[in-house]
């Protein structure tokens, strides 16, 4: 099978290069860059939607990107079961185009927040996380609209269906408001769709792949090896 990973980038994406570096380093393959106006995407492999400020985050983070032709293709592939990962702005785009539940709204502090956080992995049955040995990983966050919101009815559905993937936690995996950097419901940092082939997360694993920034991101990408 052809090994393939695709990164869809939009005007204003700015973590596309960082993601490509991480993929090259961890998965030893060169990702394919797809411009947002691509109206036919064939055999994408894993699709990544990178962080940044697509279309300047004007109107609302992620919303304008959902009008790009490439997103129609992402939705088509999602239905076919292709693995899709949206990080930060990518997560915002995936909720805006309804591939994922909930919404990402302004942080409780109303301020942009950039720091390293600990995340407890909530679900290891999923192919995105089953190869990660650690129970808690450390990735940076950098966002101002990262507060995950979902109503109680849908929250219950997420819980019942094991769709919650990452929660903000302490180093030892405690979950409380103290470790919630943005006010997310139940400290939720990342979820999957019902079919469990679409993952969205606010933290940046691609920013944790060397000894200076921490190496927990490596296991995230290495874990994807069997999907490609």
């Amino acid at each position: 099978m052809n090994k393939e990973v695709s990164i869809i980038h939009f005007p204003g994406s700015n973590c596309d290069r960082d993601l490509a570096v991480a993929i090259k380093y961890c998965l030893k393959l060169k990702p394919k860059f797809l411009w947002h106006n691509e109206s036919h995407i064939k055999d994408p492999g894993i699709i990544f939607i990178p962080g940044g400020f697509s279309f300047g985050d004007y109107l609302r983070a992620g919303i304008l990107a959902t009008k790009s032709p490439a997103i129609k293709e992402v939705i088509r592939h999602a239905k076919k079961g292709v693995p899709i990962i949206g990080i930060c702005n990518g997560f915002q785009i995936l909720t805006e185009c309804k591939l994922l539940e909930g919404a990402l709204i302004k942080n409780s502090s109303q301020l942009f927040s950039c720091k390293k956080v600990f995340l407890r992995i909530e679900n290891k049955k999923n192919y995105f996380t089953k190869n990660i040995k650690k129970g808690v990983v450390q990735y940076p966050i950098a966002h101002s609209q990262g507060k995950f919101y979902v109503d109680d009815y849908n929250l219950k559905k997420l819980q019942d269906n094991d769709q919650i993937m990452f929660k903000y936690s302490s180093k030892t995996g405690d979950i409380s408001d103290k470790y919630n950097p943005n006010g997310s419901v139940q400290n939720i940092a990342g979820i999957v769709n019902k079919k469990k082939n679409v993952l969205g997360l606010m933290p940046h694993p691609e920013r944790a792949i060397d000894s200076f920034s921490g190496r927990d991101g490596i296991v995230f990408f290495n874990g994807l090896n069997e999907l490609i």
């Binding site: 005007p11 700015n14 973590c15 300047g56 004007y58 942009f112 920013r207």
Partner: protein
């Protein structure tokens, strides 16, 4: 010539900030009266901001050459060689006046402007820093200004995706009505892919790309060249509005176009917009220009040529391209959703000819206008200082220390830094909270650059020359402490009204100080910016010559942070005399007089070389310079950063206060477990080194003085910002 003749009169001339002698100079150049458009162009080109008329005479004396310098002052930014095919492009620029009037947009567009200066030269920006000065926290405006400026800087840099890796922020009442926002940008370029602004090739098209021109920022450069008064707030419409998304599109599209062999000259439309960009390109290439102003994309209807030429709408670029590359140029910009438009071409007339509705509406000779810009040798006089006898408050060491670490100027700036994305691009090794200088890796290599900006305005006020020397030395020392070899600086000179003798004295003396220090330290000035008229109602700011230093770390294994490990030994490098004049200690004790510490450059270089080599040969855990607040402040910062305790003994031969709080220059703290090797090496290099204690326990302990738990220390250090911001307005 049949020019449209908008009548001008004596009032128009005064309103444009043109003096009588300057007007006579205009008449001499034109051999006729200028029309309104032409007068407007003269006024911005000859404004202090664009022409450096009060400082040029002194700036020329600065050392600008060195073995690493590829491009010194005069271009959009300075360039230095960092080995291989890599070069670093950098510059610092102020956006003081706009930021005071509208803090969010003023600061944001300051960041945008300096990034364009850097990427115009072909570089990809890799780091932003900033140097901020606000008024007293208790001043009614300060909190709003602080919040607006920080958000403006963060939102702009974060959106474009360039990490904001550090800087400085302090408060002083002299900035109550005139804050300083100095933004620095550092970019990376391949040496064979540097772009300059020199236009050439008669007939070559001039291309405009970026935001549409609006009425914002008309006369911004002139505003930056006048004092503030009560009506300044009415100048809000002159503050430009930033669009970081447009900046990102311009950055990416220009980078893509730069790979093609299409661009001959490129310049961003910064201060004085279309006027200065077109004049500068043509003047450097000895060309003439024909501009067809009907082609200029306008945001508003019925804009006049005067408004188009003087608008400072942000995120616009002007370039001269090869005629056979027009198609690829337009195609690339189109891909990024930008419209590029040909608005004119180069001629051999040496004149700027502006057409509107098929009529010549302005015609100016380019070279004479640029070359005969006024240059003043303004009168100077030293201000007499009165020393009033005041009694120092007699305070316990512990109390002074706690007051210091919880004061606005010395408490943790985490609240600010959190709002900046300091990691995007994934090459930030240390931000400036983690090391004396921010350290950014050169992508895909083992090299890194260290970057810092520094100034102590209190020192500069009492002795501008010595103060400026100390600012340069501190920048140099910060680079050394981070493991770098200092290479070059950019300077941002913030002063009051140069038409006042005492201010002009400060300016000249500060430049002299920079000259001496940069010469002695082989630390050339490759770019810079001058911001004058930082006064409100006749009250000037403290003289603030901010120095932005850049250094090179040849291998990542030598990057050095403010780090320590349990059981390491703590050494002080450099002799401590215990100078308390103008120190933070004295300020807290209520004594504001005295002199700044002296500096001996031979000693500075000796100690610096020692530290530089110790990082490479001895093996150390961390290094931190000793500056504001003295040894005790540096030690506290080490403990807070590493969450480790220390035990320190004060030497017998010196008064405790002097040793702990003295601010003598040329000193560092080194943390290592290779005690013997360090001492042996110090002996060999004849450098003063003293073991002062150990990394131990979970408290900050000065033996025989006081002890405070780490937890309390951190709380003291972190509480000020949080309390200040959280209190309802």
């Amino acid at each position: 010539m049949n020019l449209e003749n908008n009548l001008i009169n004596a009032k128009t001339i005064i309103d444009h900030g043109i003096s009588k002698s300057e007007y006579n100079r205009i008449l001499k150049i034109l051999k006729r009266e200028p029309n309104l458009l032409e007068l407007g162009i003269f006024s911005v080109m000859w404004s202090e901001h664009c022409s450096y008329k009060s400082t040029k005479k002194w700036l020329k004396t600065l050392p600008t050459n060195g073995e690493h310098v590829i491009c010194g002052p005069g271009e959009n930014a300075g360039i230095i060689d960092i080995g291989g095919n890599d070069a670093i492009v950098f510059k610092m620029e102020s956006h003081n006046h706009p930021s005071f009037i509208e803090p969010y947009q003023g600061a944001a567009t300051g960041v945008g402007g300096i990034m364009r200066d850097v990427f115009t030269m072909g570089a990809r920006p890799i780091a932003n820093l900033n140097s901020l000065r606000f008024g007293e926290p208790s001043n009614i405006k300060t909190k709003n200004l602080l919040q607006g400026v920080v958000k403006g800087i963060g939102d702009y840099g974060n959106c474009v995706g360039i990490p904001t890796v550090g800087g400085e922020c302090s408060f002083h009442k002299s900035y109550n009505n005139n804050i300083l926002v100095n933004a620095m940008c550092v970019g990376l370029v391949k040496k064979n892919k540097i772009f300059y602004s020199k236009a050439k090739g008669i007939g070559n098209p001039i291309i405009y790309v970026g935001s549409k021109t609006g009425r914002d920022g008309i006369h911004g450069a002139t505003m930056a060249s006048a004092e503030f008064d009560d009506t300044s707030i009415d100048q809000r419409p002159q503050v430009q509005v930033g669009d970081p998304f447009m900046e990102k599109l311009l950055l990416e599209s220009c980078q893509e176009l730069m790979k093609e062999d299409a661009i001959i000259a490129i310049q961003d439309m910064g201060a004085a917009g279309l006027t200065s960009s077109s004049f500068e390109m043509a003047s450097k290439g000895n060309c003439g220009v024909k501009l067809f102003l009907n082609e200029v994309p306008c945001r508003e209807s019925k804009m006049t040529p005067y408004e188009m030429m003087l608008s400072e709408t942000q995120e616009r670029m002007l370039m001269v391209i090869k005629p056979d590359k027009k198609k690829i140029t337009f195609d690339i910009f189109k891909k990024w959703g930008l419209e590029a438009i040909e608005i004119g071409h180069l001629t051999d007339t040496g004149k700027m000819q502006m057409y509107f509705n098929n009529r010549l509406v302005g015609e100016l000779p380019i070279k004479p206008l640029a070359d005969s810009a006024p240059e003043y040798d303004r009168p100077r006089k030293k201000k007499a200082f009165k020393t009033i006898k005041v009694k120092k408050r007699n305070l316990q060491i512990e109390n002074v220390f706690l007051e210091m670490i919880s004061s606005p100027n010395h408490s943790s700036k985490e609240w600010l830094f959190r709002q900046y994305d300091n990691m995007v691009m994934c090459d930030t090794i240390f931000s400036s909270e983690e090391s004396d200088a921010a350290i950014v890796r050169i992508h895909k290599t083992k090299k890194a650059v260290a970057i810092t900006c520094d100034c102590n305005p209190i020192f500069c006020y009492t002795d501008p020359k010595l103060g400026a020397k100390l600012a340069v030395a501190e920048s140099w020392r910060n680079l050394i402490a981070s493991g770098a070899k200092p290479l070059a600086v950019t300077d941002n000179l913030n002063f009051g009204n140069p038409e006042k003798k005492d201010v002009m004295y400060q300016i000249k003396k500060a430049i002299e100080g920079i000259k001496v220090a940069c010469t002695k330290l082989s630390f050339p000035v490759v770019s810079g910016n001058v911001s004058l008229y930082n006064e409100t109602k006749g009250k000037s700011i403290l003289p603030t010559p901010v120095i932005g230093g850049v250094g090179l770390i040849e291998d990542l294994k030598f990057v050095t942070g403010i780090n320590m490990k349990m059981d390491d030994s703590i050494f002080i490098i450099g002799y401590t005399k215990g100078h308390l004049g103008l120190s933070v200690y004295n300020q807290i004790c209520g004594y504001k007089y005295g002199k700044p510490p002296s500096i001996d450059f031979d000693n500075e270089i000796k100690n610096g070389n020692f530290v530089y080599n110790a990082i490479r040969e001895v093996g150390i855990s961390g290094c931190h310079d000793v500056s504001e607040g003295g040894i005790i402040m540096s030690l506290a910062e080490l403990c807070i950063k590493n969450k480790l305790g220390i035990q320190i003994s004060i030497p017998d031969e010196i008064k405790k206060e002097n040793w702990l709080f003295g601010e003598d220059s040329s000193r560092y703290i080194i943390i290592t477990n290779n005690e013997k090797k360090l001492l042996k090496y110090a002996k060999k290099m004849n450098v003063f080194v003293k073991n002062i204690g150990k990394v131990k326990g979970s408290s900050f302990k000065i033996i025989n003085e006081f002890e405070i738990s780490l937890k309390d220390l951190i709380t003291y250090n972190k509480q000020w910002f949080k309390n200040y911001i959280d209190i309802e307005k």
